[in-house]
Symmetry: D3
Subunit: 278 residues, 6 copies
C-alpha cells in the first residue's frame, strides 16, 4: 500500500521554458530506460519475490522512490512547456527560432496533453510493459537492474551536456547521483549473490546437462581475429569451471535440414523436387 | 557482409511433433530475450562501435552466431508442427487430448505461417526493435548483454524442464551451453572495462557535477528495515568513492509544486482557486 | 514523493492455485482498463493539473491508491500460480484436465516471469502508455475516468462470475466496491464542473466559431429510422443551446475532391486522365 | 453493407500548403481520439449490440458518418502536402523557414506515403485497435463515447487555435460542431440509460456482493486534505445508496504478503531466509 | 461520404456456437491480412490518388465493400460466442471438452468485449495502422493489394478446412470467392500498368542513375547452387533491359569500415586502440 | 549457419555529416519496407520452406545479402551523425540552421544510441515482427516479396532525390540497383509458379467450393462508374475461368442481423425492445 506526500523529493524547476528540451526529457520519463521502466521493474520484481525479504524490501524501497522520480520529471516537463507558442502567430512564425520550435517540439505536448508530460519517450513512442524484466531469479534481475541504471545514467548525462539551463541541470545532477547509487547498490547485491551462487544464471541447473564441450569456446564467426586477444578467449573461465578456447573457423555439426511436406489442408506450396520426399 | 552455409550449427530435430511445445519455443526465437534480440543487439552494437576493434570484432562474432541460432529454432519449430491437426476431424475433436492441442496451440501457426516459425514470442506478440539496446557505451551495453544471456539461459532451462523430448532437450543443452559461455564472456569483457574505467557508467562524467551528498544513500521508502542489513547500506561503496549510508525516513527537499495556468488557447481547465495564482 | 507500507490494503489470497484464472486476472492488472491504467492515468492527470488544488489532490489520492491495487492483484496472481505444472510429467500430461491447463495457461507465466505477475493483459499484450488519457482539461479527463471505472468494474464483475474461488471473490468484491465509489466520485466531480462550465468540452471555445447549423443534427447515415425516436433527435439539446434535429437523408455539401499531381521527385504514378489536370 | 458517394460531406481545402500543419492534422485522423478511433469504436459497438435496435441504429449512423470524416481529413492532409519541398534544393535549404519545414515535417509523408495521409498520429505512431472500446454494456460504452468526443473536440479546438488558414479552420469548425452534437447526443443517451439503470455500471450486479463498507469512502492516500471539501466526500452518494465518507489516514487491512517458494524446476532464486518457510 | 444499409451483403450465421472458432475467425477481421487491413488500405490508397479517376474509383469501390466484410465477420464472431460458458460451473469444468474451451478461447471475448468481436487477430494482437500500405505509386500499391488478397484467401481457405460448420463454410465460400475476384482484378490492373510503365517500380527513375553493373546479378550468398538453375539467373531479364547473371562467390567491394570517435559529450566508450585514430 | 566478413559489400561513406538525413535513412533500415524487413522475411520464408530446394536456396541467398544491407546503412547513419551538435552551445543555438537541426533530428540518435543507428524507422517507431510475411505458400509470399522490393525501391529513390550528398547517392544507387534485380527476380519466380499453378493463391483449393457466382464481379459500391471501364470489369478473367462482370448497384443478400441476448453473467445491457426476442 502506498502513501503520497505533496512535496517533491527534489526541486524540479527550469530557469526558463524550452519545449525542445521538454521533448528530450520525455526519454527519461517514458523511454526504454526511463523512470516508468525502473519504477515498474522494481515493483514487479518485489511483488514476485518469494521469500528473501531483504531483497524484496530493497526492491520495494527503490521502486517506490522511482515513482517519485517520474513525478519530478513530469513536473519539470510541464514547466518547460510554459509559454509554448501554441497559438497561430503570423509574425512570430516568421522568426526562424520560433519556426524551429514549432517544427521541432512534440506536437502532442500541445494537441494531446495540454502542456503536460506524456507517458512516452522522446520520439513519442508510448511506454510499454515489454520494457521491463521480472523473472523470479534475483541474480538475473539484478543484472537487468544494473544495466537499466547504467543506460539511465548515460542518458541523463547526455541531456545534462545538451543544456545550459541551471534548474534542469540541478535536477539531472540529482538523478545522476541516484543512478550512481543504484549502480553501486545493484553491484553490491550482485556480488553478494554471485558469491553464493557463482557466475551462471540460473545456478541451480546441473551443468552436466548442458553440452559442456561447447560451453567455453569463442567461435570466430566474423572474419578477423581481433577478438581472440581478449580475456574471454584465454585462461580460466570466469566461472572457474574450465579453460576458455578460441575456434578460428567453426564448422557446422548437423546436416542441411529438410522439412517434411505440410498436410494438404494447409495449402502450402507442394514440393516439386524429388529430394524433398523424406 | 554475410555468408550462409546450409548445414546447421547443431542438430534441431525433435523426437515427435508437439504443437504446444512449438508455441513455447517461440519465446526463444522472438521473445524479449530470444535469439532475434541478441542477434540484432550484438550486430547493432558492433556496427556502431567507434574504434575498439577488439570489441567490435567480438560483437560481430557473437551476433553472427546468433542468427544461426534463430535458424536452428525456426527449424525445430517447423518440425514440432509436423502433423498438427489442422483439419476438421469430427471424431478426433472429441478426444480431449486433441481438444487441448486445438485449444492450446498458437492458431497463427496454422492459419498464418503454414506450420512454420513466427517472428514473435510464446503468446504471439511480434518481436520489436525496442527490445534491443545499443548505446555507444560498451560497459553499459555489455551489462545489457550479460543480462540478456542470463534471462535467455533461464528461459531455455525452464523449457528444458518442461519437456521429455530428447531431440528438443539436445538442442536446448547446446543453447544453454552457449548462453553459459556468453555469460562468461560478457563477464570477462565487463571486468576488463571496469578495471580501466571503474564501476560507474559513464565513467567520463565528472563526479563533482552530481549531487554527491545523495549519491551513496539507500532511502527506506518502503516501511520495514530488512534492506538495511545488505552490503549496499554498509561499508565502502563498491566504486570505492565513499561510504554507503542508510536513511530510515527520507524527507522531501522541495516544496509542493505549483504550475502556472496554461495559455487560454490550450483550453485547459482554468484555475478556480486563489492560491493557484503564482 | 511516495512511501510504501508492506501490508496490503486488502487481503489477496485464493483458496487454491488456478493458472487459468491467473491468466484472466492479468486483464485487471495490465489490460486497457486495468489498474496500471488507472494508476498512471490519475497520476499523470494530477501531476499536470495547473492550479485547482482540490482536483489535483483528488487525482493523487486515487492514483496512489491504485498502485496498491496493482500490488494486491500481482500478489493474487503469484499465488494462483503456486504449484503450476511447469515440469514435464509424462503421466500427468495424459490427464485431460492438466492438458487443458498446460494448453490454456499463459506460457510466459512459466517461462518468463517464474510464476509472477506480468505487466500485460489476459492475452499477453504488454501494457501501453497509449491506454491512458491526460489532456489538461479536467472535465474531459473526468469523463475518461468515469469511463475507465465503468469498464473496469464491468470486467471485475465478469471475472467474479467466472470463478467459485472464495478468496478471489473476496478481493474482487473489494475492487468492485472501490470501482463503485470511483464511479460515484467522478460523477460528482463531473456534475460540479458541468454546473460551472456547461456540457461541452472545452467550454471556453466561442460557439459562434463552429458551424452551428450542423451542431444539433442527427444524420441518418445508416438506413432505418430506429434512432430517430431517441432523446438525441428530439427536444431541446442537452446543452440547452438549441433544438435537436433529425436529417433522414444527409447530402454531401462539397464536390468530389480532385488532388493535384505530386511533384515528379516523389515518383508517384502520374495522372493518365485529362480531367486530373486542375 | 456500405455505399460510398464521391462528394465530400463538407469541403476540405486549405488556403495554402503547410506540411507542418499536415503533421499535426494526423492526430485527428489516427490519434488515440482521432476519427479512425470513433469510426471503428461505434461500428464495433453497433455490430455487437444484442437487441436494442434504437441504440444499434444510432451507433451505425454515427460510425458511418465518421468514416466520411477520415475521408475529409485525408483529403485535407494530401492538399496541405502539395508542393512540399521533397527535392534537394541546395539554395532553398539555406532558407531557415524551409529548413524548419524540412526538419519539422513528418518524413514519412515524403518517403512512405508520397504526400498522402498516414494511418497514424501526429508523432507517427500507427493507429491501434487497442484505442477502441466495445464492451457489450451500452452505458459503459456511451461513457467511453462521451469521453472520446470530449477529447476529440478539445484536440480539434487546439489545432484551430494554431492556424490562420481559413480553409483548415472551416473544416475544423465543422468537425468541432459535429463533436458538439455528439457530446450532446451521448449525454442524452447516457441520461436515458441512467434513468433506467442508475449510476453504476454494470447495474445488474447485486450490490450486496460487493464490500459495501468500502464502497462510499474517499481514502486520503495523498497527504493534504484539499480533496475532502469536494462533493465526492460529503452528502448522499450520487447513486443515492449511502453517504459519502472521508478517511484521512487509511490503514492496511491485510498482513504483509509472503509468497511460497517456487518449484525447483522454475530455477527461481531459492529463499535464503528462515521466515520465508510458510 | 458513406451510407450504410442494415442488411448484410451475405449471410453470416453459424450452425452452432464455437468459441474456439470465434478466436480463429479474428485473424480474418483484425490480422495483418484481415478485412480491417484491406478496407483501410484501399480507402487510404483511394483518398491519396492524385488524378487517375479510374483507379481511384476502383479503390473506393473495393475499400467500401471490405468494410461490409468486417461487418459480416463481426456478426459471425458474435454468434459463434453465443452460449459461451462464461459462468463458473463446477460440474461442467470437470468436462474435459469444456475445459479445453475454457482454456483455449480468447479470454477477452468474455472479459472485455462481452461476447462481441475484437479489433485484433487470432492471438489477441490489436490491429495496427502499420499493416497497411499506401505509397502514392499505384503499381507498387497494386502489388501490395495482390499480395494482401493472396494471403487473405490462403488464410480463409485454411480456416475453411478446419471446421465442419456449414454456416461458417458458407460465409467463407463467399469471402474466398471475393478474394478470387480481387486477385483477378489486381492482376488485371497490374498488367495494365506494367504494359505502360514496364516492370520496375518506380518507372520514372532514370536507370542510368543506378549501378547497372550490379542490377542483374543473383549473388550466391547462401552456399549451395540450387538457385542458379532458376529463370532469375538465366536469360533476358524480365524487364527486358539486360541478361541475368549468377555470381557464385560474391566479394566485398569496400574496405572494413572504421568510424570516427564520438564527441566527448556523448560519453561513448573512448577508442582504446591506435588504429582507431583516423 | 552464418559467417561474416568485415569488409562492406559496397562503400557507405557520406560526403559530410547530416543528422536530418540520418533520420530519414532510418526508414530504409527499420521501416515497414526497410532492410530489416526483407532480411527477416526472406530468412523466415527460407527456413520454413518444405522441399523446393531451389526456392529455399534463393530465399536464403537474398535474405543473407540483406543483412549486409542493414550493415551498410547502419554504417552510413553512424557517419551521417558524426559531429552532430549534441552539446549545449549557446551561440550556435542562435544560428537558425543549427536550430533546425536540433529541432529536426531524431533525439534518440543523441540520447539513446550515442550517434549510432537505431532499429526503427524515420519517425522512431521500432521495427516489428508484424511487418514480415511468411505463409508457407511460395506464390503468395513471392508476391509479398515483389511488393516489398517495389515499395523499398520507391523509398530509396525518394531519398535519392532529397539529397545532394554524392556518397549517400552512391550507396543508394547500389541499393536501388539491387531492388531492381530483386523485382526482376521475384517476377521471374512468380511467372514460373503461375505457369504451373495458375493465378489464384492457393491453387489447391477446389474452386467449386467457393461461391463462383460472386467470383468474377466488380461491385460498384462507390457511386460513379469510372471503374467500369477497366480490364477487371470486361472480358475473360485473368485466371481464364470465366468472364468479368460489373454490377452497378449491388444489393444485400441477407437480412438485417439480429443477435441473441447475452447470458446474464456477462452483464451486458439487456434488450429493451420486443423485437429483440428471437
Amino acid at each position: 500500500m502506498f502513501y503520497h506526500v505533496k512535496e517533491l523529493q527534489f526541486e524540479a524547476k527550469p530557469d526558463r521554458p524550452d519545449p525542445l528540451l521538454a521533448k528530450k526529457m520525455q526519454e527519461l520519463i517514458g523511454g526504454q530506460y526511463g523512470e516508468m521502466s525502473v519504477a515498474m521493474q522494481y515493483l514487479f520484481q518485489g511483488w514476485s519475490t518469494r521469500g528473501n525479504e531483504k531483497y524484496r524490501d530493497l526492491l520495494l524501497d527503490i521502486g517506490t522512490e522511482e515513482i517519485g522520480h517520474i513525478e519530478m520529471l513530469a513536473t519539470m516537463v510541464a514547466r518547460l512547456l510554459d509559454n509554448t507558442p501554441v497559438e497561430a502567430q503570423e509574425e512570430a512564425a516568421k522568426d526562424p527560432m520560433i519556426g524551429a520550435i514549432l517544427g521541432g517540439m512534440n506536437p502532442q505536448h500541445a494537441i494531446v496533453s495540454g502542456l503536460g508530460a506524456r507517458p512516452g519517450d522522446s520520439v513519442g513512442n508510448p511506454w510499454m510493459g515489454s520494457y521491463i524484466t521480472s523473472s523470479g531469479n534475483l541474480l538475473a534481475d539484478f543484472r537487468a537492474n544494473l544495466n537499466a541504471e547504467s543506460q539511465g545514467r548515460l542518458q541523463a548525462v547526455r541531456i545534462y551536456e545538451m543544456t545550459d539551463d541551471r534548474g534542469v541541470k540541478d535536477l539531472l545532477s540529482v538523478l545522476i547521483a541516484r543512478d550512481s547509487y543504484h549502480q553501486n547498490q545493484w553491484a553490491a547485491a550482485i556480488a553478494e549473490l554471485e558469491e553464493k551462487e557463482g557466475l551462471l544464471v540460473p545456478s541451480t541447473f546441473p551443468r552436466e546437462k548442458e553440452r559442456l564441450d561447447v560451453a567455453f569456446t569463442l567461435y570466430n564467426f566474423s572474419q578477423g581475429e581481433e577478438s581472440s586477444t581478449g580475456r574471454w578467449a584465454n585462461g580460466v573461465s570466469i566461472d572457474g569451471h574450465s579453460e576458455f578456447k578460441y575456434e578460428n573457423r567453426p564448422q557446422p555439426e548437423a546436416p542441411k535440414p529438410q522439412l517434411r511436406p505440410a498436410p494438404p489442408s494447409t495449402h502450402n506450396t507442394l514440393p516439386m523436387d524429388k529430394n524433398s520426399l523424406l
